[in-house]
């Protein structure tokens, strides 16, 4: 096969592999993009005893994998990974680097971009190649109410972090073959300015709200703690989860676990009921991936009402009660 002109790299983020498919999704999109700019798709894997992931990435579309396998890399370390990646990039000169917008990716990619003095677009929801062969990166701003299209015209590589769930992974192909490039661990790694004391996998609890297909969210407009409790009954009837705004959590109407909003928790239900929520940006940022939105508020001009599919102008508490009653009537086991 003829040598490709460029390469597109995908950072192999294998932690939480079974929940976090973003690396596979990026390998898939990288393959589409590679056809448009004559590039080969490469993955990087840093860690210890990582053969499994190397195989997975090849099976999902990487034609080359740069592997650094060493006991010193047993735990993810931003400091070390940034140095390793910077050296590889300087050595091989990829045209594009894609990183999943996980917690790790969103800390790792900015620091790598800074060292390489190149541009980086955060949390992309679209990637394309334009007529000039530039990577066009579509990223949300203002809680997803606007999208911006961004390019890095001159600096290389072009870098983006990409939100999980945007692209579809290529089905696993056992026949796929790929080249493995073993990279030695440099012996002049930075000192341990940051030391890991402990790292514990968290219980699955946190994912419940994030994965729910129906979420019932309540804000201060529910009126009282007592009325807020009705949302739990509604959620039960709908088979969904309850989310809450920050003021509600502060007022102890709901647990901290239920908080929906920027950085704290992003939810992506297919149906979202929103009760008595004005729609402050901190909250709406957390629901930008929601599907069908039904909002209830006395104020028809509330931001939350404007972004809803159905905006119900009424008392949130009363509508909640009416919904529970009507649903129980309609759901026949």
């Amino acid at each position: 096969m003829a040598e490709k002109k460029h390469s597109i790299w995908v950072f192999g983020d294998y932690r939480n592999y079974f929940q976090n498919r973003v690396t596979l999704q990026l390998l898939s999109r990288a393959n589409d993009l590679a056809k448009m700019i004559d590039a080969e798709v490469c993955a990087t894997v840093f860690g210890h005893e990582v053969d499994e992931w190397v195989g997975e990435y090849i099976a999902h579309g990487a034609s080359k994998v740069y592997v650094c396998d060493h006991p010193a890399l047993t735990f993810y370390s931003t400091d070390i990974y940034v140095v390793l990646m910077e050296r590889l990039v300087r050595q091989y000169g990829p045209e594009i680097i894609l990183v999943g917008a996980t917690s790790f990716g969103r800390e790792f990619a900015p620091r790598l971009a800074k060292r390489l003095k190149t541009g980086l677009t955060a949390d992309c929801v679209g990637l394309d190649i334009n007529d000039e062969g530039l990577l066009v990166q579509t990223a949300p701003a203002f809680g997803g109410s606007l999208l911006t299209r961004i390019v890095t015209p001159e600096k290389r590589p072009q870098m983006a972090t990409v939100r999980p769930g945007v692209f579809q992974e290529i089905p696993h192909n056992y026949q796929a073959a790929g080249e493995i490039v073993n990279v030695p661990l440099p012996d002049d790694l930075p000192g341990d300015r940051i030391r890991l004391v402990s790292s514990e996998r968290q219980a699955a609890r946190e994912q419940k709200l994030g994965d729910a297909s129906v979420v019932v969210c309540g804000g201060r407009g529910m009126g009282s703690r007592k009325k807020f409790r009705n949302l739990y009954e509604l959620a039960r009837v709908l088979g969904g989860e309850v989310g809450a705004t920050r003021p509600v959590v502060y007022a102890k109407w709901a647990d901290e676990d239920a908080l929906v909003g920027q950085a704290d928790k992003h939810i992506s239900p297919k149906v979202l009921f929103s009760f008595g929520i004005s729609g402050a940006i901190q909250h709406t940022a957390g629901i930008k991936n929601a599907g069908f939105i039904i909002a209830v508020n006395k104020n028809p001009n509330a931001a939350m009402m404007k972004m809803a599919d159905v905006a119900i102008v009424a008392d949130a508490g009363q509508v909640c009660t009416a919904l529970i009653r009507e649903l129980k009537k309609r759901i026949r086991s």
Binding site: P110, L120, F142, I150, V271, A314, E326
Partner: protein, 273 residues
């Protein structure tokens, strides 16, 4: 004495945003501003450390002259000193140019810091990149999205949740943290405090030349990225408005959207015939 820097940004409060159609950047002068919510949490974390460890806080912002308001607010809340980095040449900076400019300002005006605190991200561009990039630029360690922090001598012990791992880390100072919005609930400034802060003349304002930078280093010219355009996502919602008595509304909701809701909860929501 623990010398801290809190980096903060003024963000627009409104959702109708005045964009410059030519550069694709926000016409900041035209949007009413507030302190970015996450920056308030970072300031709160700094204030708690200050109370415990005899600290000193310098609040820094980069932005148009109107951003001075958030520095005044920071003073009212307990910051000791402010630095305003403002220059028309700095407009349109991406995170690379912003972190570069902030780093130069810090090196010149507060080089002997122990700890820099930033919000974990802004509510407008939401990149979460400036904090980590600033630490690279200053060659200091950094930890993002910190939920608790405790100072022991010259070491900071922090906890955070990263991709479902609860991590406890130790970082040598000087260093940088970005603060998650969950734990540090911002205090309110008293009206009297706010009034005093707006009388306080002591805000140092510096421009590109004071930092020894030329126009190619900062703002749009110093940025690696370019915004092609800004648009509203396609497939805008129909936004159907229902009014009336709750019972009637709920009936109408199910008449019209029984399939949309029923298919998700896997129940037949059609009314009994």
């Amino acid at each position: 004495m623990l010398k801290m820097i809190v980096c903060m940004k003024q963000v627009p409060m409104v959702s109708d945003l005045p964009w410059d159609p030519i550069t694709g950047t926000l016409t900041r002068g035209a949007a009413e501003g507030m302190m970015n919510p996450a920056c308030k949490h970072a300031l709160e974390a700094a204030l708690l450390l200050k109370e415990k460890h005899d600290g000193h806080i310098t609040a820094i912002t980069m932005g148009p002259p109107s951003a001075e308001e958030i520095l005044r607010e920071a003073i009212a809340l307990g910051a000791d000193r402010c630095l305003m980095v403002s220059d028309p040449k700095m407009a349109g900076a991406d995170t690379l140019a912003t972190s570069f400019t902030l780093a130069r300002a810090i090196e010149i005006f507060c080089p002997d810091f122990d700890l820099i605190l930033c919000g974990c991200h802004t509510s407008d561009s939401e990149t979460a990149q400036v904090g980590p990039q600033l630490s690279e630029e200053l060659d200091i360690p950094s930890i993002a999205s910190v939920e608790s922090l405790e100072l022991r001598e010259k070491t900071l012990r922090i906890t955070r949740v990263s991709d479902h791992f609860l991590e406890t880390l130790e970082m040598d100072l000087p260093g940088l943290v970005t603060i998650a919005t969950g734990r540090f609930i911002p205090r309110y400034a008293s009206m009297a405090g706010l009034g005093d802060a707006f009388q306080d003349p002591g805000i140092l304002t510096v421009g590109a030349r004071d930092l020894g930078l030329d126009e190619h280093d900062v703002g749009l010219k110093g940025s690696a990225t370019r915004i092609l355009d800004i648009f509203t996502p396609v497939g805008r919602k129909e936004n159907i408005v229902l009014t009336g008595a709750p019972k009637k509304i709920v009936e109408e909701l199910f008449e019209r959207f029984d399939d949309a809701i029923g298919s998700v909860i896997r129940k037949d929501l059609k009314a009994e015939k």
